[in-house]
Symmetry: C2
Subunit: 197 residues, 2 copies
């Protein structure tokens, strides 16, 4: 997705240890036109999958998620992150470890909102080790639903998330794939046919 790649190159800031800061258009300040295009692109890619709901995780997944849901004409659900829980009767709970923040969170979705048989598209802003995507997928499956696909805005292809998710049988579509952030330089995975933007 050329527009997104351009944004990553022009505004992304490489911090140490494989961290890419994109807080000017995705993680803190958000570009609504870019988010709409992200939603349209996920819709093009997953149009044939019979998606009944989009599932994301707070907070940075919500904007791409709602735009995708708008284009696909289905509801969005965002999973909540919580440190610890006492009442868990009416919610699905999965533990997700963040390598960036070095902490575990419980992610939760109300049982009301995913019914058996639903086809759920998972959308998230970043894919690195795949922890969040696997946690969301386990919630869909706990509910008796099917993961229709996993749509990622920015993938760190030098981390194993994409490979692990594909090995587990999921269809993963990343709008940009970063091959390396070494020495502060952003380079992309180029060896793929990309749909024209």
């Amino acid at each position: 997705m050329e527009l997104l790649r351009h944004k990553v190159i022009s505004e992304g800031i490489v911090l140490g240890q494989g961290v890419l800061k994109v807080d000017s258009f995705l993680n803190h300040q958000m570009d609504p036109f870019l988010m709409r295009e992200v939603g349209r692109e996920f819709t093009r890619r997953f149009a044939g999958e019979g998606v009944t709901k989009v599932l994301t995780i707070e907070s940075s997944g919500i904007a791409p998620g709602i735009m995708t849901a708008l284009e696909l004409e289905v509801p969005l659900i965002f999973a909540r992150k919580q440190k610890s829980l006492t009442l868990t009767e009416d919610i699905f709970v999965e533990k997700v470890y963040s390598f960036t923040k070095k902490e575990s969170n419980e992610i939760t979705v109300s049982k009301k909102f995913i019914a058996p048989g639903e086809r759920v598209l998972i959308v998230d802003d970043f894919l690195a080790n795949g922890e969040a995507a696997f946690g969301l997928a386990r919630i869909v499956e706990q509910a008796g639903g099917t993961v229709a696909g996993i749509g990622i805005v920015i993938e760190k292809a030098f981390q194993p998330g994409n490979r692990l998710l594909k090995e587990a049988g999921y269809r993963v579509e990343s709008l940009v794939r970063i091959a390396s952030l070494d020495e502060g330089v952003i380079s992309f995975v180029e060896d793929e046919a990309e749909p024209a933007d």
Copy 2:
């Protein structure tokens, strides 16, 4: 806004102590068409205010915020909530007390994203005591910007937020105003001319 009022009546659940649960279309599952209409309605109401940015707070403000930003053709910023902070050099910080959760959070916005002279529209999902809106307004003013207005999806008009914000000189526009949740019944403030939906 008739569509929203209908959603509140048909799907809102009154819990004890003045709490209205709207997690089927606003706070957990989200209706993307309703969010788009919310964005269009805020844009109609604040079109003449010269808005340069929309500011909201994670997580439930993000969907109405991004739709408003899309219609107004400006960026969205979402303030982050944090329990405590160590490094505060590059961020604006304000303390916000949540009466619902009975806890204080620090809300933060990077100094990069609000410049002196900006006209910032604050958007949030709920208005009760006005704590979050005042915190966001203080951040805008710390940055040397002006609050162009405050757009609220659901106002609890039986709590003092609206009055306090107006007394402080802010323009507040709430899309629905709830007069009372007493005895589990949702009643609206009816004595206002509302723009036709």
